[in-house]
Symmetry: C2
Subunit: 268 residues, 2 copies
């Protein structure tokens, strides 16, 4: 399945081994991992599960949370995330930057803190052959997860650093509504290091995190978006990342088959 990568979180009902076997059987060549997998299986074993099957790790999710009050611990943890990405053989470390600390109303300060922490981390990433992938999260996550909320904001930070060190994610779910998205994607160009898809569906569930839809169930023009990032120069995979209780409740085989079918019908 050319160009498709399945993010581990989309089929979390499976063990990693099950996902890999099923992907290989269907010709899916890439998988996006989470640090939870590293914790569950150990770094070497997680890498071996994917690589021994002939598959590629397309991204590691996630570093970030730079607004954590324990700056030293967070700095250390982010360096470990870079090490893990390198050991897993992926050059893409997704960053979810962190929200506003409880009790604070200082959004501007939080954003500055993120930019500073990325500046601190970027050279270390570059030394290890890993690019930091700044992910702008939908504004509904601004307070509690990520104060970087538009592609232009992510680019403002990324462009302070060498392309080999810092790039951006284009995630259809987070970015589809942006009024100046086309221009931002053009601007992003070679900074785009990951392209992720799911679909926007309503009503959003309580907490909004697990409300992502399967491609085709919502209102995002996914094919046009994929064409736009490719026109801007992106040549990497399309990673399907869906957080959805209904999808997680289905047998893994069914869930994976749906993902592949929807990718075929609505993305390529």
């Amino acid at each position: 399945m050319n160009g498709l990568s399945v993010n581990r979180a989309s089929v979390r009902q499976w063990e990693l081994e099950e996902l890999v076997v099923a992907c290989v059987a269907r010709g899916v060549e890439g998988v996006g991992l989470w640090r939870d997998d590293v914790e569950t299986y150990g770094l070497e074993r997680a890498a071996a599960i994917v690589h021994d099957a002939g598959m590629t790790v397309t991204s590691l999710c996630r570093g970030g949370f730079f607004t954590d009050p324990d700056v030293a611990a967070r700095r250390e943890d982010n360096r470990r995330a870079v090490d893990e990405a390198a050991a897993l053989g992926t050059d893409v470390l997704i960053l979810v930057s962190g929200g506003i600390q409880p009790g604070s109303k200082d959004l501007t300060g939080a954003r500055e803190q993120v930019a500073e922490a990325i500046a601190d981390l970027a050279p270390y990433a570059g030394q290890h052959g890993v690019r930091l992938a700044i992910e702008a999260l939908h504004p509904m996550f601004c307070s509690d997860r990520c104060v970087i909320n538009t592609l232009d904001q992510a680019l403002d930070i990324a462009e302070e650093h060498p392309v080999a060190q810092v790039g951006v994610v284009v995630d259809a779910y987070h970015q589809w509504w942006e009024p100046t998205l086309d221009a931002a994607i053009d601007r992003a160009g070679e900074r785009i290091v990951s392209f992720q898809v799911s679909d926007w569906v309503t009503p959003l569930p309580e907490g909004v995190l697990t409300g992502r839809g399967l491609m085709g169930d919502g209102c995002i023009p996914l094919r046009a978006l994929r064409e736009a990032v490719e026109k801007a120069g992106y040549t990497g995979p399309t990673e399907v990342e869906i957080f959805n209780d209904e999808l997680w409740n289905r047998p893994g085989d069914e869930a994976l088959d749906s993902i592949i079918e929807r990718y075929r019908t609505h993305v390529i």
Copy 2:
């Protein structure tokens, strides 16, 4: 209570008469109405309830929903909304522009449709002494309520028309996260015809509509925002508009007292 207007929807457990009596007793001079009130009480009676008590209607919510497939009916209804605003003695008609029609993925087309419908409505509003107040809703409402999602987007449309015909709302809940909000407020200047407050709290409830917090319960720097809109030239009231089940379940007096206390502590 200088500068405070209480939006009808914040204390919807009360009849309009109850709200007006309680506001007068507390020195609150302004109230924002909804078209539901016009429907419930009739236009003349709704106007009389407010004016006979010596209060002012600070805004009427809402016209809009321009992406409705029945363009003719929607055009007619929006003209009626202008008439109602004029009859209620307010020159501010809030517009919630409408979302993407079910099955459509044409966000750009929907946004163009909104701009065209506002261009059609603006002269009619001007003739009746009413200014259309374009409200940019938080991007989490983009698909189902409003495809206008940033203050700059609202201004791009408003600036096509005379100031006397089309302005914008600055609503803390919808706009607080915007990366370029300070510049957009400066740009807005005399276009700002309404300033609304509540607070951003998480987790968001299912459907996200009724998740607004009382001022001070969340992360929005409300006082700084009020000062910014005033620095930009806005001299009108601060309207408190909160959709919150917990607030609606309290006795009206308690709810109103909380609103006033929070306005005093966190806004002025």
